[in-house]
């Protein structure tokens, strides 16, 4: 063996060892995609308009309170879409004062336009809107991430998705109870504790009878399940008139956990942080004897009477199953979503289908490899062994690559492996045919091998670059499984340049090196 050849052999051996080390043991190192492992893939959209609406409403509310404080009576203050609110009928004499108040309360985030007859429109500044939308998505991402982590899923993915910037991808491999996971992820979990001003009443009309059929400013109507027998019918809906501004929200929580109420039914106990406890203490202390509505996602869960001043502990009771209570405490711990979610896509693969796919993929790969190997041996005789070795090495390097960059193996990825076999064989065929041609032209085996590899190298380079371009765009386009396919194709092409050109040539040289006038079995 010449010195040159020894170096080549060592290089090949080193690459082989590196590749095997990278993916061994394969059960641990090669990550399987959802389609092989089973699990759920969800795409959700954050309704970022919600976040803008909150901002707009709270600005309108601040203006309203300030006007009330200074006894300026306007005709109306009303939201107009998620980014705009209008004020109508500002008295002419107090116009300057109104402008001053408006500027104090809104100029940081809103542009003001004035119309005829004391009408004003306040529009959320575009840069602030963009910022609020981004924050909402980011917060939703963090919240979902916390919830998924509490679910105890191994290797979950929670990531931004798509071009629009408001989509979130959630992948939960190996989750068996898909519905529960979905419920937990998407529950808004907006907890608000609000003082009840009127009610409960069996109908909206009955509730508003005392206030002349109108909802007073700064108040709102919420509904819930009848727990006091107001309607005389179990499970019926009752209505409460509550203050718009919440005494306590989910943000004031320190912790939440599953517990039992005085009748030993499942309930959720919560404790408040310092700020929350101070606020809660004040509100409960000033309002002993009144009802406090515990509102979750806009619906009254229960409305207990305040018996005494409470500071840092509370309990949400209702008709929970133990699991519902556990899940509710989980979502309360992880915080509320800043905006509601819309469900865009779901793909669930059951574990049996995943296992079937793995079996099918392995069987198809082995059969493909076997068929190709038989053909190569029959057609190219001894040189066929060379081709099989270089294709096999290509697959090993490819596996190593995949494990090294932590790429995910999907079912289309398996197809990528099979195509890699095809490409590897193609390069070898290209070279072998050329060698045959050169030998037919009268060259010795050694010269023919040299000429064959040299001439074909450029062709292989050209074909591989063209295919890499296609694989690259496929990766760009791809969602999950297709991305797996593009990845295997891409790395397969790269490693194929090495195995088909370098490894295969070294094998030829090693074979021919021993004898001077060697004949080639090709």
């Amino acid at each position: 063996m010449t010195k040159n050849l020894r170096w080549k052999a060592l290089t090949i051996l080193a690459v082989l060892v590196l590749a095997v080390v990278a993916f061994w043991p394969p059960a641990e190192k090669v990550r399987l995609g959802l389609d092989l492992k089973g699990g759920v893939h969800l795409v959700l959209r954050v309704q970022t308009d919600d976040a803008l609406k909150v901002e707009t409403e709270s600005a309108a509310e601040r203006v309203r309170e300030e006007l009330a404080r200074r006894n300026i009576v306007v005709q109306s203050i009303a939201p107009d879409g998620p980014t705009r609110f209008r004020v109508a009928g500002v008295p002419g004499g107090q116009d300057a004062e109104f402008r001053q108040i408006a500027d104090e309360q809104t100029s940081a985030a809103f542009n003001r336009q004035s119309g005829a007859g004391g009408a004003y429109a306040f529009e959320l500044k575009p840069n602030i809107a963009v910022q609020l939308r981004d924050e909402a998505v980011k917060q939703a991402l963090q919240t979902i991430e916390r919830r998924v982590n509490e679910l105890g899923v191994a290797e979950p993915i929670v990531a931004p998705h798509g071009m629009a910037g408001d989509q979130i991808l959630v992948q939960l491999p190996g989750v068996s109870d898909v519905n529960r996971a979905k419920e937990i992820i998407r529950s808004t979990a907006l907890l608000e504790l609000k003082l009840v001003e009127q009610g409960p009443a069996p109908t909206r009309e009955a509730l508003l009878a005392a206030t002349g059929g109108n909802v007073p400013a700064g108040m709102e109507v919420v509904s819930g399940v009848d727990e006091r027998g107001v309607t005389g019918e179990a499970g019926a809906t009752v209505y409460y008139l509550v203050r718009h501004v919440a005494a306590i929200t989910g943000r004031d929580l320190r912790n939440a956990r599953q517990t039992l109420d005085e009748n030993n039914r499942p309930a959720v106990g919560f404790s408040l942080n310092q700020e929350g406890a101070r606020k809660f203490g004040r509100v409960t202390g000033e309002n002993v004897g009144r009802l406090l509505a515990i509102i979750l996602d806009g619906r009254v869960q229960s409305a207990p009477r305040i018996d005494s001043r409470i500071t840092d502990e509370g309990r949400i009771t209702g008709t929970f199953t133990p699991e519902e209570a556990a899940d509710l405490s989980l979502v309360l711990r992880s915080g509320a979503l800043p905006a509601s979610l819309t469900y865009l896509e779901e793909r669930t693969v059951g574990p049996t289908l995943g296992a079937d796919s793995v079996r099918a993929g392995v069987l198809a790969s082995l059969t493909g490899l076997g068929l190709v190997a038989i053909f190569m041996l029959v057609y190219y005789k001894l040189a066929g062994v060379n081709a099989i070795l270089s294709v096999a090495m290509n697959l090993i390097i490819l596996l190593g690559f995949m494990a090294y960059v932590d790429a995910v193996m999907t079912l289309p990825g398996v197809a990528g492996f099979i195509l890699t076999i095809g490409m590897g064989v193609d390069s070898n065929v290209l070279i072998f045919e050329r060698i045959k041609e050169e030998m037919a032209g009268g060259k010795s085996a050694r010269a023919a091998v040299a000429a064959g590899f040299d001439r074909v190298f450029l062709t292989i380079l050209d074909t591989h670059v063209a295919s890499l371009i296609a694989a690259g765009f496929l990766f760009q386009f791809g969602t999950g499984p297709i991305r797996g396919f593009a990845t295997t194709l891409f790395f397969g092409l790269l490693s194929n340049v090495f195995t088909a050109v370098f490894v295969s040539r070294t094998l030829f040289e090693a074979y021919l090196g021993k004898r001077q006038q060697a004949a080639l079995s090709i």
């Binding site: 779901e346 059951g350 099918a360 493909g368 064989v425 065929v429 045919e433 062709t459 386009f477 297709i482």
Partner: protein
């Protein structure tokens, strides 16, 4: 062993016949697609719901169909995979725009109705729910990826070879895509994400094949200085014929294994690849070079009259190839 010993077929003589045949296939496919209102789109692109159920005993499709009859819209209920697997696929059309969690209602309804129909115990093998936003997104991305990769490859070939060759390769690629779509239509496959991936792979494969021949043409330009372009191209096609056929054969074998053993999920993908491989080989031999010659017809004539000197300005042969 040798498939073709000194092959010397006059492929270019058949170029117009070949082009005519391709046009017929493509038009037939297009006609069929138009008559059916386009290639059926899979749930990935059209949106909708697909639920696959596995029963613990054989359940006739009709029983499942009757169970879900109350859901409005065009439903598809069919056996999924082998009969022995007792799996049934239920597909529902898109139910309208996404609102909150409205999208999953279809899947829930199917499960509730099948449960109520008392067809035996079953488990959900897979669920796919795709809303219109994602469907439109994927459609756009699929078109974008196909167009972008074709443009990228064209630029590469134009740089490495010459522009008319790039056009030849791209026409051949489009040919393969259209023929594949025609066959998908003949055999009633629908366009899914996997099928689009296969089509993009065929793009790469077809160009691959074409480049091998063009490379040989470039090389032969230097040794066959007095021959017409048509003759050089024809010789090159013949010289690489063994490789073209063997490669197509082995790749076909590998993908055939995928088609037979790869399971229901990859069937569309494997079928598309099989058609694409055959079409790609055919277009490489008959279409790509024919287009390149037809387009450079004037140059080819000029070359035949004045010799290779007139060509030298076109594209210099690569020095490296020469030196090797």
């Amino acid at each position: 062993m040798q498939i073709f010993t000194n092959a010397n077929f006059d492929f270019l003589r058949w170029r117009w016949h070949a082009i005519a045949l391709s046009v017929v296939v493509v038009l037939a496919g297009a006609g069929l697609m138009v008559s059916r209102g386009g290639l059926p789109l899979g749930v990935d692109f059209s949106g909708g719901t697909v639920v696959v159920l596995k029963f613990d005993r054989p359940v006739p499709e009709d029983a499942v169909r009757a169970a879900v009859a109350s859901i409005p819209g065009d439903k598809v209920v069919q056996q999924y995979g082998e009969a022995s697997a007792n799996e049934v696929l239920v597909r529902l059309p898109q139910a309208g725009a996404e609102q909150g969690f409205s999208l999953e209602e279809g899947a829930k309804q199917v499960l509730a109705l099948v449960q109520k129909a008392n067809l035996g115990k079953f488990e959900v093998v897979s669920t796919e729910v795709v809303g219109p936003v994602i469907g439109a997104d994927l459609q756009r991305k699929g078109i974008y990826a196909t167009v972008a990769s074709i443009i990228g490859i064209t630029i590469y070939i134009a740089l490495r070879f010459r522009f008319t060759f790039a056009v030849g390769a791209i026409v051949a690629t489009f040919h393969d895509i259209l023929v594949t779509l025609a066959f998908l239509s003949f055999f009633g496959y629908e366009l899914s994400l996997n099928v689009v991936a296969a089509i993009l792979t065929i793009t790469g494969y077809s160009v691959n094949d074409t480049i091998v021949i063009f490379d040989r043409v470039r090389e032969n330009f230097r040794t066959m200085r007095r021959d017409s372009l048509a003759h050089v191209v024809n010789t090159s096609v013949n010289q690489t014929l063994g490789r073209t056929v063997i490669t197509a054969g082995t790749t076909f074998l590998a993908v055939l294994a995928l088609y037979v053993f790869g399971g229901e999920v990859l069937e569309g993908f494997a079928f598309t690849m099989l058609v694409g491989i055959v079409s790609g080989t055919y277009s490489t031999v008959f279409i790509a070079s024919a287009i390149a010659i037809i387009l450079s017809g004037r140059q080819a004539l000029a070359r035949a009259e004045t010799g290779p000197a007139a060509q030298s300005g076109q594209k210099k042969p690569s020095r490296k190839a020469r030196a090797s």
